[in-house]
Symmetry: C3
Subunit: 141 residues, 3 copies
């Protein structure tokens, strides 16, 4: 599916709108991010696989160990058969001035109500990270 310029702009706004809906605990806005049957896979974060928007909302309201912020960076989109793959990463404040991160791998579809996430994987480690000498030899900061 080809992405129009408007599609791309709409896609780029999803991470920030998602992050703000979580940080505001605004579940009405959160419902505008996902499809009804969306899957949100948090297993790599030590949590579980959520199935459907009701599970996602209940998890966010009652169970999630939320960082203090969902500030999103490195946003870009690639066209796919079903719509688009959307990539972004979180700057997560953790209290006492400490910062953590995670990566999001979204499959997004165009619906009558706009672009919606139908499948999301969140990971602590980069999903496709390669071995490199700088890491094997411990040079990285």
């Amino acid at each position: 599916m080809e992405l129009t310029l408007e599609d791309r702009l709409d896609l780029y706004e999803i991470p920030g709108r998602y992050g703000d809906s979580i940080d505001d605990r605004d579940w009405d806005r959160l419902r505008t991010i996902f499809t009804e049957d969306a899957v949100f896979d948090l297993t790599d974060l030590g949590s579980r696989r959520l199935e459907g928007i009701e599970q996602i909302v209940t998890f966010m309201e009652e169970e999630a160990a939320h960082p203090r912020t969902h500030m999103m960076t490195n946003i870009y989109a690639d066209p796919t058969e079903y719509g688009a793959d959307l990539r972004f990463r979180i700057v997560a404040l953790l209290g006492q001035g400490k910062t953590g991160t995670a990566s999001y791998y979204d499959e997004v579809v165009r619906t009558a109500d706009g672009w919606r996430v139908k499948h999301r994987v969140a990971t602590l480690r980069r999903r496709d990270k390669r071995d490199a000498k700088v890491d094997l030899e411990g040079i990285a900061l």
Copy 2:
């Protein structure tokens, strides 16, 4: 007012251009962000309400306790009667590797010189944050 794609791109650039003008102490560039009569309300940050671009520039030059960075995230815009509401959040480095944040709530208008901020509120707490069980029960990180 409907936002064209060009409007949206111009709006998206405002937070980064603003942040860089502050971090560079480049007040000529800062003047291109705001209208002449802009209001910048910093009362929620323990500061005050600035009225007009001269007060804003003087405050930034002489008074502000600037964090080391204004790195902006979660940028999106919604059309309004007067132009657009622009939302974004700062990743603020505070020294010793510590990080803080704040949220910006902008009202932006289209002028002959491009989009300009006419009213900005900066807050430490999210303005529309709801109560949620995860917070009331202290689960959040």
Copy 3:
């Protein structure tokens, strides 16, 4: 050179795509960011001036002291004679929850394969930072 809306979107994606390619150690993707003869000047970071994509890849694979993340913010582009100047800044996680930053100053050109960086300078200090009373008097956080 005038920038179309599509040009601007393509330019905005470069920082995130670059950051992810580094953090994934994905040198095939890194090669899609730069021209063959690109210069990447890291002297301000205490490193050196890399000339050509092979030097850039080898440096990233074997020598660089990478922060844990390249999460990019404050992205905007201005048209120039050769193409565009692209600006952005990194949120760099450094371990133990600490965060650092740097600024990127890119010269980007349009090629048959899309926009590519032909010259990049990375700096710890803002390149064009002015003196301001708040800094001279030590008010900044």
